[in-house]
Symmetry: C2
Subunit: 191 residues, 2 copies
DNA sequence: ACAAAAGTAGACAAGTCGGTCTACCTCTTT
DNA sequence: AAAGAGGTAGACCGACTTGTCTACTTTTGT
């Protein structure tokens, strides 16, 4: 991967994440990154392809961070605690790789591309599926029954998305810990 | 309220909801509604004020619909079922007043205005608080203890936001019924 | 060493953005 | 009858939009 290409992606991500995709022009990305316009159009066919590359970049960064946050936990309840503690770190800007928190980039971007079959919306969908898969694999690695792991993953995804929205739209910086409490009560009966 | 003003608001809402605020220009709203530009700037000081008016309009419509969906239920479990059945109707375009479903308008818009103190972001925050208040009042009207009602409301809001995101970003049209199942398991221990 | 690839600055095109303004028309109220 | 509010159409403004292009320089691999 070319250094210029990566620089364009990281600069574009920061601007898109803060202001939204449609509110950021190509020229702003160019002047902010110090890259020439010709170089951008050498690497990307157009703005949409840059957006797609930015989504892929963020997906990898996010999943890598989340996996690292969960790997150490060795029991189901520890995994659940680790998940919401990680979210709490994210919401409160204690994660360098994700800072500053402006909600979920993929939720924000899909709000600007509502057509479900649009490539950009599809990329957002894929990210959410990736995160769910990552969680399911964590429970499978613990030897959890497949049906139980699937339901637990569904429940946790529901609470995770809810916590993100509460934290971002309502500015509730304790949303992750509240969701952790809810998750704990939810699994108390099963486990 | 002037008929022209209302017409501008409803037209702007449909376009904003489908394409996002920044992707829709004043001229598009004008040509779609058939209203003159001078008339728009007679009623609104600028685009931001129109956006604010649209948010207020949608908040009232949404809360009115939700309240109507919950009023008939006479027990806590019935209220919970009614909430997620209502969401299921919304997600699957069975509610004329809200159709077509493109996620939560307030989540989408706040994704375009990340600054927490921006008037538009604040209006989105206010909507989420309004919905939470509406839920809490439903349980209070049933004579539920205040602390219990508060925690139940928090849990349900978490699941509701999660279901909206799953339904919109992942295109999971069964998200509301899944969340209903999760909510049922969650309260089974308490009630 | 040399050719190809990747980079630079920035002019330019064609169109859209939010917003202002003139000139005129049509209601409603006193 | 008169007057003011609310409406129409659309020209116009300066700034910005994505994207193309020329002419030139730097970096990289063989």
């Amino acid at each position: 991967m070319s250094a210029k290409r990566l620089h364009l992606i990281t600069t574009a991500f920061e601007l898109f994440y803060q202001k939204g995709v449609h509110a950021v022009g190509i020229n702003e990305i160019l002047s902010e990154s110090g890259v020439a316009k010709k170089t951008l159009y050498h690497h990307f066919a157009g703005k949409d392809e840059l957006v797609l590359a930015v989504l892929e970049y963020r997906d990898q960064r996010f999943c890598h961070w989340l996996q690292g946050s969960l790997d150490a936990a060795t029991s189901v309840t520890d995994k659940i605690d680790a998940l919401f503690d990680a979210l709490d770190d994210w919401f409160n800007d204690r994660v360098d790789a994700l800072r500053p928190f402006h909600g979920c980039f993929f939720i924000n971007v899909s709000g600007e591309y509502s057509a479900p079959d649009h490539p950009i919306h599809l990329q957002c969908t894929r990210h959410k599926i990736n995160v769910a898969m990552l969680l399911r694999e964590q429970f499978e690695a613990l030897g959890m029954a497949s049906s139980l792991g699937s339901r637990l993953t569904d429940d946790l995804c529901l609470l995770k998305e809810g916590a993100i929205t509460l934290a971002y739209v309502q500015g509730d910086c304790n949303a992750a810990l509240k969701a952790k409490d809810t998750a704990t009560r939810l699994v108390a009966a099963v486990l």
